[in-house]
C-alpha cells in the first residue's frame, strides 16, 4: 500500500520512469564488472573454509600471509587493470620490478646514497620508463603488446647486465641495516597496527612465539598499500573526470579524441601508473627481503593481467574495474597460499590460475554482449 503511493509521488522523477522495469539490487549488481571476481573470491573462501578450516590457514598469521601475497599481486594488478580499461597492455611490469629493485640497491650499497634518495631515484626511473612506454605506443600507434614486450626484454637484460657490471653478481644484499632511521623507507617497510596484535597476544587470542611475542606482528605494508590503491583507483574511475577519460580512451580512441578527450595524455599517464606500481611492489619486496634480485618479478606482468581479467577487465579496453582486479588478486593470493594447507600438490596452482582465467574471459565476453546488445 505504502509502496503504491510512493510510486505515484515519484512519477515525474526521471529515474522513476514507469516504463523502467523495477530492477532488483541483485540485477544492478550483475551489471558490475567486478561481480565475477567477488563471487569467485567468496567461493574460494568457502572452499578453503571447508577443506582447510582447521589448519593454520585462518589463524592471524595464516590470514596475514595470504593477504600479503594477494596484496603484492594486487598492487600491480590494479595498475594493470587501469591501463587495460584505458585500452592498452603493459608486459614490462615484471621486468620493471627487477629493474626498480636494483635502482634502489645499487646506489644505496655501492654508491653510498642514503636509502631515501635511492628510492626516489627508482621512482623517477619508473616515471621515465612509463612515459617512454606510453609515448612510444601513442606516437607510433603500434600495439602496446609489442612495444612493452620489447621493453620486457630490454629492461630485464639491462637489469642483469648493469648489476653484473657493477657488482659482479646478480643479487645485491645488505639493505636491511639501512632501513632503520631512514625518513622514507618506513612507508614501505613498517608493519602497522602492531598494538592490536600485541593486545590479541596478551589476551592469548592468537598464537605466540616461545618468547611471548605474537607470531603475527602487524599488518604488512603491502596490505596497506593495496587497500589504499584499490580505494584511490576506484574513486578515480567512478568519480572523476580523468576516470571518465580512461573509459573513453579504452572504449573508442577516435571517438574520445573527437570530443576533446586527451587520449594520448591519458594513456601515457596510465603507463606511468603501471611502472610506478611495479616500483612500489619492488620497494616493498626489496626492503622486506633486504636484498635485490635481478630476476625478481619474472612473469608477474602476466599474473597481474590475469588478475585484472578475472576482475572483469575486457582485453579490448573500455570496461572493467579496479576493485575487481583487487578481488582477482585476492583469489590468486589466497589459492596460492591456501594450497599449502591442503593435500593438493602445489604444482596444481598454475592449472588453477589458467582455468580461472579462461572461465573469467568466457564470462566477461558474455557480460559484454549483454551490456551492449540488450536491444
Amino acid at each position: 500500500m505504502s509502496d503504491k503511493s510512493k510510486s505515484i509521488e515519484n512519477k515525474t522523477d526521471f529515474n522513476q520512469d514507469e516504463r523502467l522495469k523495477k530492477v532488483s539490487k541483485l540485477r544492478l549488481l550483475l551489471n558490475r564488472p567486478e561481480l565475477g571476481a567477488l563471487g569467485g573470491a567468496i567461493l574460494v573462501f568457502i572452499f578453503f573454509g571447508i577443506v582447510a578450516g582447521d589448519t593454520g590457514m585462518f589463524s592471524a598469521y595464516g590470514v596475514l600471509n595470504f593477504l600479503d601475497v594477494s596484496a603484492n599481486l594486487g598492487i600491480i594488478a590494479i595498475a594493470a587493470a587501469m591501463l587495460m580499461i584505458g585500452g592498452e597492455f603493459d608486459l614490462s611490469i615484471g621486468s620493471m620490478i627487477g629493474f626498480a629493485g636494483i635502482c634502489i640497491a645499487i646506489p644505496a650499497i655501492y654508491w653510498g646514497w642514503p636509502l631515501w634518495m635511492s628510492i626516489i631515484f627508482a621512482f623517477s626511473m619508473a616515471v621515465i620508463i612509463g612515459y617512454f612506454n606510453g609515448i612510444l605506443v601513442v606516437k607510433t600507434g603500434l600495439p602496446s603488446f609489442i612495444v612493452t614486450l620489447a621493453m620486457l626484454f630490454i629492461l630485464r637484460g639491462a637489469t642483469l647486465a648493469i648489476t653484473r657490471l657493477i657488482t659482479g653478481r646478480t643479487q645485491v644484499p645488505g639493505l636491511r641495516v639501512l632501513i632503520e632511521n631512514d625518513p622514507l623507507a618506513w612507508i614501505f617497510a613498517t608493519d602497522t597496527f602492531k598494538w592490536v596484535f600485541t593486545w590479541l597476544g596478551s589476551m592469548n587470542l592468537i598464537t605466540l612465539r616461545t618468547d611471548g611475542t605474537p607470531l603475527a606482528t602487524g599488518i604488512p605494508p603491502s596490505v596497506i598499500w593495496f587497500i589504499f590503491l584499490a580505494i584511490i583507483s576506484t574513486w578515480i574511475l567512478m568519480k572523476t573526470r580523468y576516470g571518465n577519460w580512461i573509459f573513453a580512451s579504452g572504449g573508442d580512441k577516435n571517438g574520445a579524441n573527437n570530443v576533446g578527450v586527451p587520449v594520448g595524455r591519458v594513456k601515457i599517464s596510465l603507463f606511468i601508473g603501471t611502472a610506478v606500481a611495479a616500483t612500489i611492489f619492488a620497494t616493498i619486496q626489496v626492503l622486506d627481503a633486504g636484498s635485490a634480485d635481478t630476476m625478481r618479478g619474472t612473469l608477474k606482468e602476466l599474473e597481474a593481467i590475469a588478475a585484472a581479467v578475472v576482475g572483469g577487465c575486457l582485453l579490448t579496453g573500455g570496461y572493467g574495474s579496479a576493485i575487481g582486479a583487487a578481488f582477482g588478486a585476492l583469489i590468486f593470493g589466497t589459492v596460492s597460499m591456501g594450497i599449502f594447507y591442503t593435500d593438493v600438490d602445489t604444482d596444481w596452482f598454475k592449472v588453477f590460475l589458467g582455468a580461472m582465467m579462461l572461465i573469467a574471459v568466457i564470462f566477461n565476453n558474455y557480460i559484454r554482449r549483454k551490456v551492449t546488445e540488450s536491444k
Binding site: 571517438g255 573527437n258 546488445e373
Partner: protein, 262 residues
C-alpha cells in the same frame, strides 16, 4: 554583421597532385538546413574535415559571423560553435548514456583539487535532454550499446547542441538507419534548425535530404555543381545531378530494353 552565420568561399584542398576540392562555396543563415549531396568520391569527406578543422583549406576563406577565420585544429572549430557529428558518432557503446553525453566535458563539483565528476547532475541533464527529443532513456546509466541506431544519432546531435553548437555538420546521419529511425532523426534535425542552428547535412540520399533541406549543394568530383533553393529544383533533377542519377536513368532505360526483348 554578415547576414550569413557561416560562409565558405571558394574553398580548395589539394593532396599532392590530387585536387580533392576546387572552388566550393557555401553560405548558411541561421535556421537554414543545407544539404550537401554527392556520390562516393565526390569530396564530401574532405569537405567535412575542412569544415571541422581537421584539414586547412589550401585556397579560399571561412567566415564565421562576419569574421574571417582559420581553424588550426578541430577544437578551434568546435570553440567557434561548429560541431561535426561524424558517422561513427564518437560514442563509446560500453559506456553509459550519461558518461557518453559528457565525455570530455564532464560537469564538476566540489572544492578545488578535490573536484569530482558530478554524476547526479550529469544523469539529470542527459535524461532531460534526451526526453526533449522524445527519446525516453529509461535509465541514463544504461550502456549506449543498448540504444538503437537512431537514438544514438540523436544522442550525438543532442550532445553537440547542448555544448553550444551554432553550426551542425552532420555526416550521413541517416545512412545506416531504417525508414522509421531515419524519419525520427530528420525530424530532430528540422527541430534543431527551427531553434536557430544552421545545419549542413551531408548525404547521398536525396529522398532523405529533399524533404528537410532549404537549399542543396551538389558536389561532383571535388567541384560544386551549384547551390539551389528548394523551389528552384526538383527531387528528380537533384538525383540526376548526382553522378549516380544519370546512371540510374541509364539503368532504367536498359532495363526497359531488356523487358521489351523478353
Amino acid at each position: 554583421m554578415s547576414e550569413y552565420l557561416i560562409e565558405f568561399n571558394n574553398i580548395s584542398k589539394f593532396f599532392g597532385k590530387v585536387i580533392a576540392l576546387k572552388d566550393v562555396t557555401m553560405k548558411l543563415k541561421k535556421g537554414e538546413i543545407m544539404c550537401l549531396l554527392g556520390d562516393n568520391g565526390a569530396g564530401k569527406s574532405t569537405l567535412i574535415k575542412t569544415l571541422a578543422g581537421v584539414h586547412k583549406p589550401d585556397e579560399g576563406e571561412i567566415i564565421v559571423e562576419g569574421n574571417k577565420t582559420i581553424f588550426d585544429s578541430p577544437k578551434e572549430a568546435l570553440d567557434m560553435g561548429i560541431a561535426t557529428v561524424y558517422q561513427d558518432l564518437a560514442l563509446v557503446s560500453l559506456m553509459s548514456v550519461t558518461r557518453n553525453f559528457f565525455m570530455g566535458r564532464e560537469p564538476m563539483k566540489g572544492p578545488p583539487l578535490l573536484k569530482t565528476f558530478d554524476i547526479e547532475k550529469a544523469n539529470k541533464i542527459a535524461a532531460e535532454r534526451m526526453g526533449q527529443i522524445g527519446i525516453d532513456v529509461r535509465d541514463p546509466s544504461q550502456a549506449v550499446g543498448t540504444m538503437s541506431g537512431g537514438e544514438r544519432q540523436c544522442l550525438a546531435i543532442s550532445r553537440a547542441i547542448y555544448f553550444g553548437a551554432k553550426v551542425l555538420v552532420l555526416d550521413e546521419p541517416t545512412s545506416a538507419l531504417g525508414v522509421h529511425q531515419a524519419s525520427v532523426v530528420l525530424k530532430y534535425i528540422v527541430k534543431a534548425a527551427s531553434q536557430g542552428l544552421a545545419v549542413i547535412l551531408i548525404t547521398h540520399n536525396v529522398h532523405h535530404a529533399y524533404p528537410v533541406g532549404n537549399s542543396f549543394t551538389v558536389l561532383n568530383r571535388g567541384k560544386s555543381l551549384g547551390t539551389y533553393k528548394k523551389k528552384d529544383i526538383s527531387r528528380e533533377k537533384l538525383l540526376s545531378m548526382m553522378a549516380g542519377g544519370e546512371e540510374l536513368n541509364k539503368l532504367e532505360v536498359e532495363l526497359q530494353e531488356m523487358n521489351r526483348t523478353v
